[in-house]
């Protein structure tokens, strides 16, 4: 591959290689959005449906979060081990979502202090995470998803606690699942 380069060839090579590295570093990025989008949407809508059906303990559906956490940790480690490159962006995104996860857990632990109006607050915190992720990986779909989550939070604050689960479930579909599938598709289309 050794040959004399012209200035234009050098510049073209630099641009091409930087773009290749970016693609590899960004990866698919949709796995966690889809996992948590599905889990939380099922929990929210399940809680809402079970409560409406008169089930005594609709909150039991939230036990799904435990295996989802284990799956999320397992696959995060697997992806990190399999990755052929490591970028600063990966580390920043990992730390951002770890902090958001811890904030959400704190909100859930102290939900009684919030008179159980924790769902809209969780949506707002998630909106921040999704928006910053969209900004870092330059994905407009994620920024729009963040807008949906924030809109869901605003609507949720104006509704009784039980109805907040329905709004939250819909917001998760629009804010996590729709952009998640869009990211997955656009990544596939690149190759």
């Amino acid at each position: 591959m050794e040959k004399e380069l012209s200035s234009k060839e050098s510049l073209a090579l630099i641009t091409e290689m930087i773009s290749q590295a970016k693609k590899e570093a960004a990866g698919d990025g949709s796995f966690h959005l889809l996992l948590w989008g599905w889990v939380i949407a099922v929990c929210d809508l399940g809680h809402y449906g079970l409560a409406k059906a008169g089930f005594d303990a609709p909150y039991l559906v939230w036990l799904l979060v435990i295996p989802a956490t284990l799956i999320s940790v397992y696959f995060s480690r697997k992806f990190a081990r399999q990755a052929r490159v490591k970028s600063h962006l990966d580390s920043v995104l990992g730390e951002l979502w770890l902090v958001i996860y811890l904030v959400i857990i704190t909100l859930v632990v102290f939900m009684s202090v919030l008179d159980f109006n924790h769902n809209p607050v969780i949506l707002l915190v998630s909106a921040i995470g999704v928006f910053i992720t969209g900004s870092l990986i330059k994905a407009k779909a994620l920024k729009l998803g963040a807008g949906m989550l924030a809109a869901g939070a605003l609507v949720g604050f104006m509704l009784p606690v039980d109805e907040q689960y329905l709004v939250s479930g819909i917001a998760m579909i629009l804010g996590y699942l729709v952009p998640g599938y869009y990211l997955k598709k656009s990544y596939r289309d690149q190759f």
């Binding site: 591959m1 380069l5 050098s10 510049l11 290689m17 590295a21 052929r84 490159v85």
Partner: protein, 95 residues
């Protein structure tokens, strides 16, 4: 008036420039990734990586993953500086 500085001969080579361009935006990259993206042979790539390492432009680490040898490369601050001046000089040549 723009002064035309000579382009760093160590970077003004297709394979070494490709490696540095791949590493510039990453914390580290595996040998197999560099080999695939530069479409080079393992032997040639090793020789060029060695030259970049001797110049202090990259750091090469050898370890094991799943009992297999693993070589990872990362760009050093001196490498970043050299790459940036190379690009700056290149711009002067083009404009």
């Amino acid at each position: 008036m723009i002064s035309f500085k000579p382009l760093d001969p160590l970077l003004h080579s297709q394979l070494r420039l490709a490696v540095m361009s791949l590493l510039i935006g990453l914390e580290e990259a595996e040998f197999t990734f560099l080999k695939e993206k530069t479409e080079s042979t393992a032997g040639n790539l090793s020789v060029q990586l060695d030259k970049l390492e001797k110049a202090g432009y990259i750091k090469i680490e050898k370890s094991f993953r799943d009992k297999r040898p693993l070589t990872t490369c990362s760009i050093t601050p001196a490498g970043v500086k050299a790459f940036e001046s190379y690009v700056e000089n290149l711009k002067n040549y083009i404009s």
